[in-house]
Symmetry: C2
Amino acid sequence: MSPNPETRAPRAGILVTGTEVLTGIITDRNGPWLSERLREIGVDAAMIEIVGDRPEDLLAALESMAAAGMALIITSGGLGPTADDLTAEIVGRFCGREMFLDTALEERIAEILRPMMSRWPDLTEEAVRRGNAKQAIVPAGATILEPEGTAPGLVVPPADGRAGPTVLVLPGPPRELQPMWATAVATEAVQAAIAGATTYENAIVRLFGIPESEIANTLRTAEADGLDLAPLEITTCLRRGEIEIATRYEPEAAADYERLLAFIADRHAATLFSLDGSTIDDQLAGMLAGRTLAAAESCTGGGLATRLTDRAGASEYFLGGAVVYSNAAKIDLAGVPPELIERHGAVSIEVAAALAEGIARRFGADLGVGITGIAGPGGGTEDKPVGLVCVSVYAAGANATEPRRLTRRTVMPGGRADIRDRSVTVSMHMLRRVLLGETD
Amino acid sequence: MSPNPETRAPRAGILVTGTEVLTGIITDRNGPWLSERLREIGVDAAMIEIVGDRPEDLLAALESMAAAGMALIITSGGLGPTADDLTAEIVGRFCGREMFLDTALEERIAEILRPMMSRWPDLTEEAVRRGNAKQAIVPAGATILEPEGTAPGLVVPPADGRAGPTVLVLPGPPRELQPMWATAVATEAVQAAIAGATTYENAIVRLFGIPESEIANTLRTAEADGLDLAPLEITTCLRRGEIEIATRYEPEAAADYERLLAFIADRHAATLFSLDGSTIDDQLAGMLAGRTLAAAESCTGGGLATRLTDRAGASEYFLGGAVVYSNAAKIDLAGVPPELIERHGAVSIEVAAALAEGIARRFGADLGVGITGIAGPGGGTEDKPVGLVCVSVYAAGANATEPRRLTRRTVMPGGRADIRDRSVTVSMHMLRRVLLGETD
């Protein structure tokens, strides 16, 4: 289902450097972020490649991307003050450009560093100066992107008379790389490299509570029913228990996409929760406006609270929560009657319901969520296996409606991290349902 | 500082497939995991490449890795039941092998699916059968790795008489990929491909509270002082405010590494907290054995509780916590005197200290942590800017020692996520210091 090759967008490769990324010490966030940004400007991100801090590997990756016909290569990382950071030099060589010390840039970097010096009292001034002079050695003819941290970005076109991709060199820390993006794209050299980009439409719908194979079946049935899916590049994936269907298409295929969307909405009304790309997090933030929420979590250990408060502004509806690992905490902080734990066990729908109601009362919140389960790997029994999770949502009565409750008992697959993560997702979807009026 | 090329280990490329990974919809966890496993068996992971679900891109990536001299290529993903999953077929073509339907494998997959059918009442049996027959079409001559989910793995050597790398084909979900690893490595075909691997030593040390440039300076000084760093492949990186120095070396360079280690330990005694690769999480888990802990968190929203309970067995020392976003919750759950908030504001060292002591008392815990700050982007003032975080650790008196307290006020750089994450790390290091006997 690839788009017609004749109308293909210019292609770009993303080259993430750093032995610490290659070896898994740190997780790359730049590759996916750059890939999304490229799509927005109509450039096809064809690959993300991660290589270590070895000059020969970096050069080989640049050369293989050039051979694969990339119009633009974006590198991230390798611009730091240490000797293993060598991206600028290798890119200079790849583009056939000499390196030189840009003394004006060196002075601007020194200016940036001055206030930092006071933060680290035992810092050697000489060490800082030497490290950062290195950051001012750049390929001749490159466009400098002003540092957000201490490392400048670079746009390096091939040397005069040479063919090949333009290389956009960005620093590794996402907080430095991201603010440089808009400036980088606006440069003449990047604009020349991506000339001819056509903007694609990108649409995402999300479903919860359905297996991926059922979506595959729906897509096959749609084609059998005569829908034209050829102009649509459709990707389905399972994430945190949700199914995402991402579709990319040229603007003229909008009607084909609309027909597909109607077909999916018709077959999967009960599980389709997002038509506009919004996440469950987005939706809850909107639905919770004007209400208040508290959570009592056992097996998720604060994961729901953390996820809710990832968003700025969460304090307007999220009053707080309790992490009630011990039974004493369940009783004391969330007001669970001790006899309920004795009779049904700490992992039970009864205790989940008591946690939800108890924490709502404790915080004086409109809504309460209670989560209790066995995340493993230990602690499972035949009756209550690892993965058993009980979630309850309590909504205090308003406008003369009775209080509402929604409580579920599920056995989740996977390891400890999966079970904890999935439990948070399930509780968010149950919260959504209660906010839409559903009840036990 | 690369090792001598003559003694170089066999090299492997990791090829992660999936438009959902390339576009950033899901985060790749397999590349870094496989990279670590390869190191363990003495194979040099030279690159991780991510491509979308386009046959021509997948094939081009395989071919460029072969051209770069990889002895082994490991793919992850693209083995699902949907039409966009095409790894097995492309790898078959790349290795010059015909595809055929392995009917015995098809039957084993059907067997696995039977119990799943009951979980999804509205599932179409025909859809499942068709999707999973596709998963049993494999290259002739490949070694089958039994499915952990529904997708089998494959080891595909080049067809007889052809040169080129062996391809190990693994499924995308980490919980299916990871258990297949040991079996895959033990196969004759993989063993033949990686013959000659020599095991490297990998060592990591960690420091907290020091800038990366200072480590660069230490490394330069070590060389100037006559230490031989040439046989050591050293990578430094900044992660969550900690500095990691990862070093890879052949066993005969052990003495060179020991000398470097002693040099670092001597210069950075105050900030070096891990010599053996252990993380702060590992260390706290060990130090907390036999004690109990509770946490009251405001700006981190449960991030400390979540991180502590990521570990199985955390319930033995972590009693629980409170997420006290609102002032009412600070007062009610963590026993902060209201006049303290009035006088000093909710973000103050006084309130942090009261949170730490209050939550310890509330839970009857030996130790309490209190965190309050401004994660932003809103809520900052000139006096109390975004990034201001106050952390306090309280240790109840034992063995006639007075209660101990350690309280710090810091202004952290970065965005909301950075500030929250860094605050959790800072609180863990302060907890460690208190457990080592430090006090205000």
